[in-house]
């Protein structure tokens, strides 16, 4: 069962090949069997079986949807009522969310079954899942390597077939980079397309939730449920949601693909460069035209991103003060001691680094030089994309300059880790949608192809990804031992 697509699983449920309870139990068994991967922070076994039972009743009657009875696992950044929601942090180790995120509410309404909560970098700050309070996650393709991050548990779970599809969030590449490193398909939607309500904030102007799945076809099904306007999120966009599956089979004849030359400079691993080249050639065969374009300010995306994201997170994480929820230190001597120790004891080193950085960038005397400057650079970068996307339909390039690296290999140098985000973060600054799709291997490790589209063209991106997946088999590869 675990190798079936969502469409196949839905058909199986409908034709009573198996029940949702059986399907859910099968996945729970796999999750249990592959515990060593450390994909899950919380397995919601009872909750899942309860939901599955209800879905089976619904399946027996009319009104069941495509996701009714389908198990899904959620990144532990989404608040799930009655289920522990940690955001990968000791700070929230005791936090049973008292409400559901809008995204969770939508999955519940659609009849999906929540298997549990997926491991992630602490407060989504990280590119390797190693900053999680709950420990590193193993990449199923090579268990000595990282799955990427911050949605590392999400990507590894899909690659290891522990869940048919999952949710992730992407602030600077946190869906695309782990999708790339784990050989799965991930979509980071346009900023404002998916509600952020109940999705624990890292950097509010950059965060965006999206689907991670084995194929574009499955991602489209999840996206259909996740997308939509939400009055509870001021930054949510009131715009009609298209049918994401309807155009999957559209022809790519005449598609104009831009290759930003900055994506192919000396920093890119040559094996990855050739995998991307092969993928692009595949698109040529599908009728696409290729053109070189330029994003002249792309290099500045890293400093601009790290100023903006750190500034926003320094304020977003002030609410964790040991008063109303979350970790409180033992025997605080006074109020400041309560704050300083609760936060000092419960936040990990990477989170602290970013809070310090953000606090510094916003403090008196530095605000203009860092924060305002970064916001101006952000507009330059956004302008670069508008220019490029006025010349072509989509941009293509690598997701990450390297394939999965060893656990512990980069933890001593945070800057080196930041620099690896070069191909993904500019997209978040501009708020554009982008995908990562499996495009081959380098040294037996998956390589992801990034496809960046214009605002609200998720349907087109999914179509472009799906057409590629019709003529290649990369997305169907399963890591050894997880077949």
């Amino acid at each position: 069962m675990h190798n079936k697509t969502i469409t196949e699983l839905a058909k199986g449920l409908r034709e009573k090949e198996f029940s949702s309870v059986e399907l859910t139990q099968a996945y729970l068994d796999r999750i249990n069997k592959y515990q060593a991967l450390n994909c899950f922070i919380t397995v919601a076994e009872d909750h899942a079986l309860e939901q599955a039972k209800r879905s089976d009743i619904q399946l027996a009657s009319a009104g069941a949807g495509l996701l009714t009875g389908i198990p899904i696992a959620q990144k532990d950044i989404f608040c799930t009522q009655g289920i522990k929601t940690t955001c990968g942090s000791k700070m929230l180790d005791n936090f049973i969310a008292p409400y559901n995120a809008t995204v969770i509410e939508k999955f519940n309404t659609a009849g999906a079954v929540t298997l549990g909560k997926l491991n992630m970098d602490e407060f989504a700050m990280g590119s390797s899942n190693e900053t999680s309070f709950y420990g590193a996650v193993q990449n199923p393709w090579d268990t000595n390597t990282v799955p990427g991050g911050s949605s590392g548990g999400s990507a590894a779970a899909v690659a290891a077939r522990l869940s048919p599809a999952v949710t992730g969030t992407d602030t600077g590449g946190s869906i695309r980079q782990p999708a790339s490193l784990c050989g799965i398909t991930g979509l980071k939607p346009t900023y404002g397309r998916v509600s952020r309500y109940g999705m624990i904030a890292f950097a509010s102007s950059l965060d965006q939730g999206g689907p991670m799945a084995r194929s574009a076809e499955d991602a489209a099904i999840l996206m259909q449920t996740m997308a939509g306007f939400d009055t509870k999120d001021s930054t949510s966009v009131d715009r009609e949601v298209p049918n994401y599956s309807a155009g999957l089979n559209n022809s790519l004849e005449g598609l104009k693909i831009g290759l930003p030359k900055e994506f192919f400079d000396e920093g890119l691993n040559s094996d990855i460069a050739s995998a991307i080249e092969i993928a692009v050639n595949e698109y040529k065969k599908l009728g696409a035209e290729i053109k070189e374009v330029s994003l002249p300010n792309m290099k500045l995306a890293i400093p601009a991103y790290y100023v903006i994201a750190s500034a926003e997170c320094s304020a977003n994480l002030s609410r964790y003060d040991g008063v109303r929820f979350g970790y409180r230190c033992g025997d605080p001597a006074d109020l400041n001691d309560l704050y300083i120790r609760s936060r000092g004891e419960a936040f990990g080193a990477e989170v602290k680094r970013r809070i310090l950085m953000g606090t510094y960038a916003l403090s008196a005397g530095y605000y203009d030089a860092y924060y305002i400057k970064a916001q101006k650079v952000r507009r330059l970068i956004s302008g670069d994309f508008s220019q490029a996307l006025s010349e072509v339909d989509v941009l293509m390039g690598p997701v990450s300059p390297t394939t999965a690296f060893g656990i512990g290999e980069k933890t001593n140098d945070p800057i080196e880790m930041y620099l690896a985000d070069i191909y993904t973060i500019a997209v978040n600054l501009a708020g554009l949608p982008a995908m990562s799709l499996p495009a081959g291997f380098a040294n037996n490790k998956p390589v992801g192809l990034q496809v960046i589209g214009n605002y609200f063209t998720e349907d087109r991106l999914l179509n472009i990804a799906h057409q590629y997946q019709q003529v290649t088999g990369w997305h169907q590869q399963t890591p050894q031992g997880f077949e």
């Binding site: 790290y306 040991g322 929820f325 109020l335 001691d337 300083i340 809070i355 606090t359 708020g431």
Partner: protein
């Protein structure tokens, strides 16, 4: 650009963030490296460019003035480390 340990202590206090004395040098080093990275932005010519706070230049939507929330105090306070008589308790606040 490099940050001193005193500067790190000052920022850490502003952020009410406990840092082990033995880690301060490491944070000073990491933050200094991050600042070096950020000074690259100085190269960009941003004269006449408006700061961009949001990916989408759209306007704030307004909510009608209706009170629909109900009392969920017990539900929310089940999460709190210390409460009494419906209040959240903290170490004595001095004015």
């Amino acid at each position: 650009m490099s940050l001193t340990t005193d500067e790190i202590k000052k920022i850490a206090y502003l952020a009410r963030l406990g840092i082990d004395e033995s880690d301060i040098d490491a944070y000073a080093n990491d933050l200094s490296n991050m600042l070096d990275l950020m000074t690259q932005m100085g190269k960009a010519n941003t004269a006449g460019i408006n700061p961009m706070a949001h990916p989408m230049d759209q306007m704030q939507r307004l909510r009608p003035d209706v009170a629909t929330e109900t009392n969920q105090r017990d539900h929310f306070q089940a999460l709190a480390p210390q409460t009494e008589a419906g209040l959240y308790l903290v170490p004595k606040v001095l004015d």
